[in-house]
């Protein structure tokens, strides 16, 4: 194989892995949007919040320690124990479920039947509130997240590809793990929504609220459920991104990368979120490799996704898999 093609293949593979990460974030958006018509701007902050909570619990940090110390004049920061990763993840899931309940109880239950734009505004408020609470709870310094996921170059792939092509592919172990976990997560979600009672109820609510009520589905329960699942997806995304680039404020900005993914895949399609993420991941890496670096001076990865999304908005606004919008007149 010629060198250029080998490089391109490696780049595309890395793009696929990066795309999986985008898909993870986009998935959280799609879940909530489908079930309640809310575009949840806070999804990225939820990932940040989840990652910070996980790290905080792992390190045995005292939540709100700055606040407590300021009020009572104490000087406590740590409980003095370190929680094992699996326990910390379980506790974080509990926290995310509690958050889902609180969000519904204190925000969206009061906004039933409001315009989508009002609900959207509420999620912007939620995003800033959550960001502040996360800082207050766990402090704002950059933390490293380590739940024992393998990191660094995968030696096996490197040596095998070197033997065959005379060129070793650089694939990060973390990306491989992320891909496997994302695949399991999606399979689990699909099975849940297709084959369980709650999944069926969830699809029913997504389709028609009034009809759902008439067959005895509690909307509040379904909304808490779907926010909990979105919280769980945010946690998974937070772990992956946190392990890759540290737990810090910029983590919440990955939500912005999810937007073009959603425009490609459609806001209402779970497979769309996956495929959209992969296309953007591969697309931006290949574009950078083939056109960006040689001709445009590089750094195209920052804007490629948005330009692609813009093209989609012009020519196919419902995305690849979204429901076509037909206005009846």
């Amino acid at each position: 194989m010629p060198d250029q093609l080998l490089f391109a293949t490696e780049v595309a593979l890395n793009g696929l892995m990066a795309g999986v990460m985008y898909s993870l974030v986009a998935l959280g958006f799609v879940l909530i949007f489908k079930a309640s018509g809310i575009f949840n701007y806070a999804q990225g902050v939820m990932a940040l919040f989840a990652a910070m909570t996980l790290v905080g619990i792992q390190n045995g940090q005292v939540p709100f320690s700055h606040l407590i110390n300021a009020i009572f004049g104490t000087d406590i920061h740590y409980f003095g124990w370190e929680a094992p990763a699996i326990l910390a993840i379980a506790l974080t899931v509990v926290v995310m479920i509690a958050l889902a309940w609180a969000v519904n109880r204190f925000i969206f239950r009061h906004l039933v039947n409001q315009e989508p734009i009002i609900l959207f505004m509420a999620t912007i408020g939620l995003a800033y509130f959550l960001e502040g609470v996360a800082d207050l709870m766990w402090g704002s310094e950059i933390k490293t997240l380590d739940v024992g996921l393998p990191q660094g170059i995968n030696e096996t792939i490197d040596s095998v590809t070197f033997e065959i092509f005379g060129y070793g592919f650089f694939i990060d172990n973390l990306d491989i793990v992320a891909t496997v976990i994302a695949a399991l997560l999606v399979l689990g979600l699909v099975a849940f929504s297709q084959y369980t009672k709650q999944g069926r109820a969830l699809r029913a609510v997504a389709d028609d609220h009034q009809a759902a009520l008439s067959v005895g589905i509690s909307l509040n329960f379904i909304w808490v459920l779907v926010w909990s699942i979105a919280g769980f997806v945010a946690l998974v995304a937070g772990i992956m991104w946190g392990a890759k680039s540290g737990v810090q404020f910029s983590l919440s900005l990955i939500a912005l990368k999810a937007l073009p993914v959603l425009m490609l895949g459609g806001f209402t399609s779970i497979p769309g979120a996956i495929v959209g993420g992969l296309i953007i991941g591969v697309g931006e890496k290949l574009f950078e490799f083939a056109i960006g670096q040689p001709f445009l001076g590089g750094a195209t990865e920052n804007w490629f996704a948005y330009v692609l999304a813009l093209l989609f908005l012009v020519f196919r606004p419902q995305g690849l898999f979204g429901e076509k919008i037909i206005e009846r007149v």
């Binding site: 699809r203 389709d207 759902a212 009520l213 008439s214 067959v215 589905i217 509690s218």
Partner: protein, 269 residues
């Protein structure tokens, strides 16, 4: 309370299932329902008729919990019902259909009808998620009862079709199937035959009678077509401008002067 009676065609009509007592419903300053009382008895087909805007649909919405009346009480099975959300009413065994069809358009007919069984499924979320414990057995049992309903309403041929693609008449039938799947003790039908052609109306009438006959389901329905109402129902409530102006057997209602003035006088009969 009346004793058990037998209709000419041999069905038994029993105790009061639902008793509406002095219901008044206001929207702002508009009184949609003014001090209405009537009952629905076990095993009967009870029709609510009246001109447009008489408050029939509002009445049905009060029964199914979508509207909360300002005054009056709803008695269900001999006890006053506390204020309830629609989903709680549904869980008590009151199923309904809607005037302007409320189906899950993106889901298949089978899935739509299966949602009617949601409350019959008792396995918890974890058992469901892992198909563990009673979850799979339950799914099978519910699937069976759903298939019976689908056979009964003759919609086998469209089981896998997404509801959004079906013509109007069939959608109405699927909605009835979903309500029936819940095995309700009281079935509320809001204009089950609105917008149908003669053939579809005859089919729907037959299904309603068969449901009542075979499952003994108590049915309350709203209908405009006077001919249909007189053929189907055991007793009729007549409403006009939010008031009750007549209540009795079709024959009694037909000879009631108020009813004739308000409604029958302008009908095609």
């Amino acid at each position: 309370m009346l004793d058990t009676t037998t209709t000419p065609d041999g069905r038994t009509i029993g105790d009061t299932v639902l008793d509406l007592r002095n219901i008044t419903l206001r929207f702002g300053g508009v009184e949609a329902i003014k001090d209405i009382s009537f009952d629905i008895r076990e095993g009967e087909i009870r029709a609510i008729i009246g001109p447009n805007g008489a408050g029939k649909s509002s009445m049905l919405n009060v029964i199914s919990g979508f509207y909360v009346p300002q005054e009056g009480e709803v008695w269900f099975r001999g006890a006053p019902r506390p204020q309830m959300k629609p989903y709680q009413v549904a869980r008590q065994g009151i199923a309904r259909t809607f005037q302007n069809i409320a189906l899950f358009e993106g889901m298949s007919v089978l899935d739509n009808v299966m949602t009617g069984r949601l409350n019959a499924m008792k396995a918890n979320i974890f058992q469901q998620a892992f198909w563990w414990g009673k979850a799979s057995k339950e799914e099978e049992a519910n699937r069976e009862s759903v298939e019976r309903v689908i056979d009964f309403l003759e919609i086998q041929h469209i089981r896998k079709t997404p509801v959004g693609r079906l013509p109007y008449g069939l959608k109405k039938r699927v909605e009835l199937a979903r309500a029936l799947a819940a095995e309700p003790s009281l079935l509320l039908l809001d204009e089950p035959m609105a917008g149908m052609n003669v053939e579809e109306k005859e089919d729907m009438s037959r299904f309603i009678l068969d449901v009542n006959d075979e499952f003994g389901t108590t049915i309350a329905l709203i209908e405009h077509d006077m001919g249909v109402v007189m053929d189907l129902s055991d007793r009729v409530v007549v409403m006009d401008y939010g008031r009750k102006i007549g209540d009795g057997t079709p024959a009694e209602v037909r000879s009631n002067q108020d009813v004739i003035d308000a409604y029958l006088g302008v009908s095609h009969d």
